[in-house]
Amino acid sequence: MPVKIGVPRALLYYNYFPLWNGFFRELGCDVVISGKTSKAILDKGVKMSVDEACLPVKLFFGHVVDLREKADYIFMPRMVSVERKSYICPKFLGLPDMVRYNIPDLPNIIDVTVNMSRNEKNLIKSFTEVGRLFTGNYLGIRKAFQKGLQEQERFERLNQLGFLPHESIEQMEKGLISQNYSPSHPGKLTIAVVGHGYNIYDAYISMNLINKLRDMSARVVTPDMLTNDIIQDRSDELPKKLFWSMGKQMIGSAFHYMRSQSIDGIIHVASFGCGPDSFTQELIERYLRRSRNMPFLNLTIDEHTGEAGVITRLEAFIDMIQWRRAAQ
């Protein structure tokens, strides 16, 4: 029977799942994803995790608990850095330890370190280390790694066409590898939702933000639809280099979207207590006010957020855009 690798449907799942999935499948493992976020999963996460963590980290705990009985291994890489001289949030760095010491009776945890800050070739070393748990065949591991990279590339191409990452993952599961046209979401307005993937694509903790916007006949674009080159270019406009990879993605995409004539407004989504987000929000708002009078809304989410408050703000935001248009 093939080994079952559990992947929590949280945090970097929304960024790198196809890479991991392609790699493990090529090695002959089964990949099990935790269920979609529900009240039960979130409650378990909040109960098990440390109090100081942000909402998405607490949610990750819940997804790990959900996998407890379903998998032989839980894959939870220690993500230090995914590009040169730039880092991932320190909470991700300590994630495997936080999980190990707070949740009892877990299956084996694969917590390989991924650190590409000095050398981007370190990625293959990390994958080799994981592959060796299952096979001694180096060629096979290399092949699996290549397969993972291919899948990841396809995934990113679908995102750039306008699929949201979780939709791309779904499409790839169904067998759609790449297509040459973008998904059609006709809308009267286009709203850029700038926020971390694990916050905005999780329908439960984002209070179904994206679908609510679509119901209000808005087309939604997100940072994941932009290429790394655009993100890098735009974020270089800041006087200093940003060393948080995810903060850079927020700034770069917001700077890109605020210039675009086809965007009607920007919604920034941050989780309460997120250090980097508290800066990106402030920077985005300041630069936006300086350059252009574009509608901007900041939403902060945590486990106490009431849905009513989010709906009120969203409705008012959309009303404002429509009212402005009618006045022009």
């Binding site: 269920g35 529900s38 009240k39 039960a40 999963i41 439960y204 179904n208 309460f272 708002e285 300041r286 006010r289 009078n293 509608p295 901007f296 902060t300 945590d302 106490h304 957020t305 849905e307 009513a308 408050g309 709906i311 009120t312 703000r313 409705e315 008012a316 009303d319 404002m320 009212w323 402005r324 006045a327």
Partner: protein
Amino acid sequence: MRGYLGVDVGSVSTNVVLIDEQERVLETLYIRTQGQPVKAIQKGLEFIRDKISTDVEIGGLGTTGSGRHLSSVILGADSVKNEITAHAVAASKLVPGVQTVLEIGGQDSKIIILRNGVVADFAMNTVCAAGTGSFLDQQAARLNLPIEEFGPTALKSTTPVRIAGRCSVFAESDMIHKQQMGHNLSDILAGLCEAMVRNYLNNVGKGKEILGPVIFQGGVAANVGIKRAFEKSLGLEVIIPEHFNVMGAVGAAVLAKEEVTKTGTTKFKGFKVADADFKAASFECSDCPNLCEVIEMSEAEKIIARWNDKCGKWSNAVAHRKKIS
């Protein structure tokens, strides 16, 4: 004659207004919700029914406020709008040329920036309700001072004390400390007003361009101490519109009128609603791990609406209703 009703069901107060076809305000009512929105709505409707003459025909009804969905189910509303839009609409109708709207209600506070009669920006307080009407109510009760006297007492102050206004819990302990030091009541109250205004401008008003004319509305605008603190801090005259405490309801009525002009008919169920027997019940649906707390509203033993379920299975079961939250 044809009139339009606006109903604003907030955390602290329930307001009902009647406007005429020229959008002039004919009747206003401000009552406390007291945790029973359904009763408050019915009481409000009864009041308007008794006030108006028989030749007034209700052409439409709009609801707003945190209880807008509940009230729309009970009354049958033509427009259901969020309170930010409703307040902005009312402000721009009643005070033409307004550029900034400061609004402090029972549990929330907001700022709306208008330019050329159109909303340009807005902000609302986050999870924290420090510095809103409920806190002032609570402090007045602690000092055994009727809330109506709060403002005039604060105005008597000559040297307001400095109170930490970041958090209402800390503000309270700071106030107690100042009172035990021997400061007089009016200085403490004036200090509290200034702390609240400081907190408002630093949180809700952060980064907003506040230009005159500035109007101040919502229940807290009745407090002249807060008005003076705003004027002192902004260096601008702050106007309090005549119907400051029912502006949301005025906006709802105006929006209802606009909606009815488009649709041609009203969904308002009529004044008989005031005497109908409404019952609200809730249950936890255990069909999936989300465990939604579904609310069920029935009128004369007949279920008229359900809401608060994520999947829509319960709300859709009540056929003609669309999912409302």
